[in-house]
Symmetry: C2
């Protein structure tokens, strides 16, 4: 049995909720007096106890969407979406970072609040593949588990990418149901990818990477991309409706805009921006529907919704790239284009509409923020939580806010290699990407076809840190606030460089010393017998119809 | 005497204004009945006749400011400014173009609504210098002149750069007082530039380019940059106060952010972004003060204010660059970074707050828009006005608007060389910049010192079209809506390319045929005896104190 790492304490919330959770009512009532006392101490920054107390949480998590991919982030062509609506009615963040710029570890960071190098979710391939035997270790405490301890109902739909099986092709050992998610509908345990492309015939034998699950069972292989977003939306609406009187946490994990781009026939061909814009519009539409539903149910003022991307957009110059706005580089790199993500918070009545936060934040901060807002104690962990609560950025009634968050170092990784650090206004690069996504123009490649062996090989090579990163000696240093594009490196002979180098060396040392050895999950054996296949040998089925 | 090219017709407006303009009252009253009839035909798109009738006009014109230089255009570091306020209370444009990406011709386009190649404001040096004998020809009708015909009071302050003297160093033949501007206070007939830099000693002998005028008299040589913005603001406030009961047009032509960057001590060193941000903040502050003043006087709902930049930001990788957001290139080029500008319209009660227009517009459209809103007839000109009114984008009550404006070709020039054309979603490049500002990384140059002869020579060379542009054969073509970065050129063998090439060839032919030979003003003799100098030989004075 797994060791509990979350402190046992009183669930908090309104009495009506304690009654609703019949199974928890006994504990809840017994603790009520004590809770009141704690509650007042916790909540001194909140403008209104009634509205900021233990909200529902919804995360809209996009895949590979770039900083510059929305109107509110400066895209001149992209149509207005639900994300822009969230920003108009809520708060847009300008300095929100992910510690790693590929899917698997970036999602670990969100769910655990810990650097992936602490959790074991690092490795040569950088991400889990369908035949991986590793996964997010069960010892880790996810947002879902932390909030469950507070009496929250939890669920998710969409992309997972944190492991599937461990012993055989059907055990589902690493799936979200084992990480605190009660309701798990229509998930992609791996990811949307090029094997699922709609406009080419499905390739048998490649099907092991294109499948949908319900809990731990395959329901569709390959994925019907035309109905995927509708399914994700339906699951979300149903979950919210069922739990409208509970406190809930729901993760809506979109497959958009990971290549190959897709959109259902209603959205396809409509965006001025082309297929990428269609894909954004389909995702944005479903976000808008969810917001409307929250308003219709009258629980919008009790619900904190957070949109974000897992990392920056792909930059290959292939015509399917997203936009990282003014930033250099993209996915796979630790230039700003890879690690700075669009992030928008929405909570009617609590968050100031049309506001902007320039605080330096991280996806590592989501777990501590949610548990703080849920009035939970922080999980008691001997390995530390790296994130810090940004509750103060949520409840502040100002149009533009900034914080001293940049006085906390943020570390950026490729696997277990620390490639870059942000501290105060500066960023140091010990290693930089010399391949895709580093801002090089790859003119004339109007499209990329990843089903060719050459392209797949090139892609696989790029995934590896040793092929993607080159050492910088002396390290490159930039003033990120005055040089957002990371183009003007500081003279290594200058006083400012030397002064900051000392700071960086100190911060990196403290951080590195705090990291304990933990076995790599991604480097665990890749065994073809673990590959999900609903109906061998063809691996094609649809159990929904 | 100059030939009048503006139709004589009835001034329009409220009766109170006709009384105010004593000199025009006779005509005004005589025409009142007729005006009512015309007025209804003109104004069918206006939601409210009371509010959209003949507003005051204020243009805030920035110098070298890029598309990505403000928060509302996606800059992650720049502080909130008056421009962001204008966008929050008004409308932000995403597809606003200038036909040329250097100062002199871009300003001609704004004031006349005509391609500079039609007006003679083109030439080898691309811009006027202090000793130029040419200038904006008096035969051209400026916005100021067109609106004066409608009974507007006109004025300007700040940068001119459309010619100074013709016969001697004091005749001021080309100055704004001869182009319809009644009140001309504290102007830079040339431009802010490196010779005016604050942090180095003033160099006698270079002073001929750093001077302030009042009407046609030098009042300060060199310019005291510390008080410049305050003077510009004071002039604007005074003009508006004096004419608060009139209808007025005022051009606030900022020296910011042309190199060398400057800011007064209050703003200097305050921006997280560094000197560029300080400069933006000082300009933004004064815009905010003007808006506040309009509100205080109760004439905000009668005033249409338009902020825009003359062209994109400089891109040299020197640490003093602005941001063109996601766009390629900058000043001196005809990549989007050079020709797409930030533009924000503000008119409380008429323009929908926090709205966005994606219509494809041009600085050529400002004159027709203003004259339309002023209910003026268009100037009768045998050479055509190239712009079209975008009044419909102003009065529409929608959060996001788009138009078919892209079905009109927009031509981009270096001097009289047509380098690129936008038509529908496509852009063709017949010539592209191969030097500064084309997106190349110039790493490690933390600062540029333009006072060295080498730098000045390099700069002068870059100004020349033949040194800055290379022919593309076949021409490069991009789908600008799906590929905002101009990175993925269309295959010249493709059907789409061939189809669009036919369109471009046709549009370019029609346009070129419409252009009559006109003498270059910029190539007219440069005579050192024309250089302004207040007190030879030192050319140093301050007549204000």
């Amino acid at each position: 049995m797994r060791e509990k790492k979350v402190a046992t304490h009183c669930p908090v919330g309104r009495t009506v909720l304690l009654i609703t959770f019949a199974g928890l009512a006994g504990i809840g009532i017994g603790c009520l007096a004590m809770w009141s006392g704690i509650h007042f101490f916790h909540n001194r920054t909140s403008p209104s106890r009634a509205t900021t107390s233990s909200p529902n949480f919804v995360i809209f998590l996009a895949d590979d969407v770039g900083y510059g991919d929305f109107q509110v982030y400066g895209h001149p062509t992209q149509e207005w979406t639900g994300v822009d609506r969230m920003a108009k009615e809520g708060k847009r963040f300008t300095h929100f970072y992910t510690p790693v710029s590929v899917c698997t570890p970036s999602r670990t960071a969100i769910l655990t609040g810990r650097y992936p190098v602490r959790t074991g979710v690092y490795g040569e391939d950088r991400v889990f593949i369908p035949a991986s035997s590793g996964g997010l270790p069960r010892r880790e405490v996810t947002i879902a588990e932390a909030l469950k301890e507070e009496g929250y109902v939890t669920g998710m739909t969409g992309k997972w990418h944190l492991g599937i099986n461990k012993f055989n092709s059907t055990d589902g050992y690493h799936l979200p149901m084992h990480h605190g998610f009660d309701s798990v509908k229509t998930i992609l345990p791996f990811t949307q990818n090029w094997f699922c492309r709609q406009h080419e015939s499905y390739i048998p034998g490649m099907s092991d990477s294109c499948f949908l699950y319900e809990n731990d069972k395959i329901i569709e292989q390959p994925i019907n991309l035309g109905s995927l977003t509708s399914k994700i939306l339906k699951n979300t609406i149903n979950f919210i409706t069922t739990h409208k009187d509970d406190r809930f946490f729901y993760l809506v994990s979109f497959p958009q805009t990971h290549e190959d781009l897709f959109a259902n026939p209603y959205f396809s061909g409509k965006s001025k921006r082309g297929p990428y814009g269609d894909s954004i519009n389909e995702m944005g539409w479903s976000i808008n529907e969810v917001l409307d539903h929250l308003v219709k149910l009258g629980i919008d003022s009790k619900t904190f919704a957070l949109f974000l991307s897992d990392h920056g957009a792909v930059r290959r110059g292939c015509g399917e790239d997203g936009s990282n706005g003014p930033f250099r580089g993209g996915k796979l790199t630790t230039w700003e284009g890879g690690v700075r993500v669009p992030a928008v918070a929405w909570w009617p009545g609590v968050i100031e509409p049309n506001s902007v936060s320039n605080a330096v934040l991280s996806t590592l901060d989501i777990l501590p923020t949610f548990t703080k807002l849920a009035h939970s104690e922080m999980p008691i962990t001997s390995p530390p939580i790296d994130g810090e609560s940004f509750e103060d950025q949520i409840v502040v009634k100002e149009t533009v806010t900034a914080s001293d968050g940049s006085d906390r170092p943020l570390f950026f990784y490729c696997s277990d290699l620390m490639t870059a650090v942000r501290f105060r206004n500066y960023k140091i690069h010990y290693y930089t990407s010399n391949r895709s996504g580093d801002g090089l123009v790859n003119e004339g490649h109007a499209s990329c076809f990843f089903n060719t062996p050459e392209r797949l090989h090139e892609y696989a090579i790029q995934q590896r840190c040793e092929h993607n990163f080159v050492k910088q000696d002396p390290p490159l240093m930039f003033n990120l606030e005055s040089d957002i594009e990371e183009h003007i490196f500081l003279d290594p002979e200058s006083q400012q460089y030397q002064k900051m180098l000392t700071e960086f060396t100190k911060q990196a040392h403290i951080h590195t010393m705090s990291i304990e050895d933990v076995e790599s999950e991604i480097d665990k054996p890749i065994l073809s017998r673990l590959k999900p296949c609903c109906d061998p040998p063809l691996c094609m089925c649809n159990y929904e119809e």
